[in-house]
Symmetry: C2
Subunit: 292 residues, 2 copies
C-alpha cells in the first residue's frame, strides 16, 4: 500500500501512528560498488545473532522513468530469506506520493508496527538521496571503498556532512589506508560546534564478516550519544516534519501540470519568463510570495 | 544574482527572456572519478577550435548543509581561464530558490543572453541530479569509466534512462572493453518505441584528448535527430515547465515550515499521522486533494 500510494494509505497511517517511534533506524549509503549490500547483509547476520527483529529497506532513488529496482546485488540477502525475524524489501521511489522522502518513512512506520527493533535503510547515495537518508535515520553510515574516487570526491558528494559513521570497506585492498587517513583527516578539519558528535571511522571487510561487530558497536555508541544529548528526539521531529512537508508538496505538485501548461506557450515564445509564469500560478492558487 | 536568488531575479529573467532559446545545451554526468571534468575541458578545447563561444556550468548538487563547491578538479579548466570566448562557473545548488531545477536553467539563460552558442552543464550524478540534467539538456552525455562499479550498477543508478550518448572514458584501462560491451548490450536490450533515439557509445581517453571529436560528432548527430523529430521543441517545453514548477514549489516550500511546526507535536506523540497533518495544512492553504 505504501509503495503504490494506495488511496487507503492515510487510513493505514492513522492506524499505525500509535505503534511507531520505537525502532532504531540506521541509514546506509555510499557510491555504487563500495559493498553496501554486503555490509547490510552482514549487519543483519550480527543483529540476528543478538535475536533482534530486523527490517531492511533497500531504496533505489533512481529509475524514475521506467522504474523497477534491479535486484542483482540483493542475491546475498537470500541468506536471510527464510528467517521470519528478518523482513527485506527493495523499494523504488518512482511514483510515490512525495517520493523517497514520504514513502520511506512511511515504510519504516510499517516495519515498526510489525515489531522490527532495528531498521536498516540502504540507498545508493550521492547528493539528494543521501541527505534524505540522513534526515530519515537515527544514525547514518557512509560506506567507502579504496580506489572508488578520492577523498576529495567524497567531500564533493557531501557525504562528510551526512555521515555519523564511516566504514572503509574492502580494507584489505590497496589504498585502504590512504582512504582511512583521508577521511580521518577531513573529519579532523571539519567545523564542529563544541559538544557535537565527532564521526567515527571503522575498517571492514564485509565480504568476510570482518569489522561488522565494530560497526554495530560504533552505531550503539552514536545512539547512546543521541539519547544523552536529546538529539534523538530532535532528529525524529525533523524526520516527521520532512515527511509532512513532502506529502504536502506532492499533493501540490499533482495540481501543477495543468497550471504550468497554460503558461508554457508565452515562456517558450520568450514573451514571458519563468518567474512571471510562476507568480501567475501562485496568484491563481490564491497565494502570494515575496516574488510577486 | 541567479546564485544568490537576488530579489531582482524576476526582473533579470524578464529582460533575458527575448534573448534566449538559441544555445545548444549539453549535459555531462557520471559518477565521481570517471573523468567528467577532463572530458568537459577537452570538449571546450575542440569547440573553441571551431570558434564557438562556450559556457560551462559545473553544478554541485550536494553540500546542502555547509555549501561551497570544491574546486580541486577544476584546475585543468584553468587552460581556458584567459580565453574570452569561454565562461566557466561552478555552482552549488544550496539555498537556491527552487534548487538545481530552477537555478541551472536560469543560469543557462544568462549564458545564452551573453552569446554562448554551446553550454556544457556538468554535474556529479546519481539519481535525482541526473534526471534534472536530462530534463535540462538537449543532449545528455553520461561518462563512464572501467572499474568504477559494474554495468549493472550503472543501470541501477538510472543512467541508462537519461543518456543520449555514453562515453567510456579511460578506454586504455583494463576492463574498458567489458564496460563498452555491457553498455552496448544494455542499450540493445532496452525497451524503445519505434523511431526513438538509440543511444550511441563512444570510447575516449579524455586526458590525452582522444575520442573528443567523436563525442562532438555524436552530439551533433543527436542534435540533428532532435530537430528532425521535433523533439528539440518538446524537450525545451518540458525544460521550461520543470523550471516554472520548481519556482512555484520553492515559493510554497518557504511557507511550509511554520504550518508543519504546528502539526508536529501531535505527530510525534502518535495521536496524529503525517497524512492527517498534511491534509490539515492543505486545508489551511485553501486546497483540498484526493487525500482529504
Amino acid at each position: 500500500m505504501v509503495e503504490s500510494s494506495d488511496p487507503a494509505l492515510p487510513e493505514l497511517a492513522a492506524a499505525l501512528a500509535p505503534h511507531t517511534g520505537t525502532a532504531q533506524v540506521i541509514g546506509l549509503t555510499g557510491s555504487p560498488g563500495v559493498g553496501k549490500s554486503t555490509t547490510t547483509t552482514e549487519l543483519v547476520r550480527s543483529l540476528r545473532a543478538q535475536r533482534k527483529r530486523v527490517g531492511v529497506l533497500a531504496v533505489d532513488p533512481s529509475s524514475p522513468f521506467t522504474g523497477g529496482a534491479i535486484l542483482g546485488d540483493r542475491v546475498r540477502m537470500q541468506d536471510h530469506a527464510t528467517d521470519p525475524g528478518v523482513y527485506i524489501r527493495s523499494m523504488s521511489s518512482r511514483g510515490q506520493l512525495g517520493g523517497l522522502a514520504a514513502a520511506t518513512p512511511q515504510a519504516v512506520r510499517v516495519l515498526e508496527g510489525a515489531g522490527c527493533e532495528v531498521i536498516l535503510v540502504e540507498t545508493v547515495g550521492v547528493g539528494q538521496a543521501e541527505v534524505e537518508i540522513a534526515s530519515l535515520a537515527d544514525t547514518t553510515v557512509v560506506v567507502l571503498a579504496p580506489g572508488l574516487g578520492d577523498a576529495i570526491q567524497a567531500a564533493k558528494a557531501g557525504i562528510l556532512e551526512v555521515g555519523d559513521l564511516f566504514v572503509v570497506n574492502k580494507a584489505d585492498r590497496a589504498g585502504a589506508d590512504a582512504t582511512y587517513h583521508d577521511i580521518q583527516g577531513m573529519i579532523g578539519l571539519a567545523d564542529r560546534a563544541a559538544g557535537q558528535w565527532r564521526p567515527k571511522v571503522v575498517r571492514a571487510i564485509a565480504s568476510r564478516g570482518e569489522g561488522i561487530d565494530e560497526i554495530l558497536a560504533a552505531i550503539d555508541q552514536h545512539h547512546d550519544w543521541l539519547v544523552r544529548h536529546d538529539e534523538l528526539r530532535r532528529r525524529r521531529e525533523a524526520r516527521a516534519a520532512a515527511e509532512i512537508e513532502a506529502i504536502v508538496l506532492a499533493a501540490l505538485r499533482e495540481r501543477l501540470p495543468a497550471a504550468v501548461a497554460d503558461q508554457l506557450p508565452a515562456v517558450i515564445a520568450g514573451t514571458h519568463d519563468p518567474y512571471a509564469a510562476a507568480a501567475a500560478i501562485l496568484a491563481e492558487l490564491g497565494l502570494t510570495t515575496h516574488m510577486s
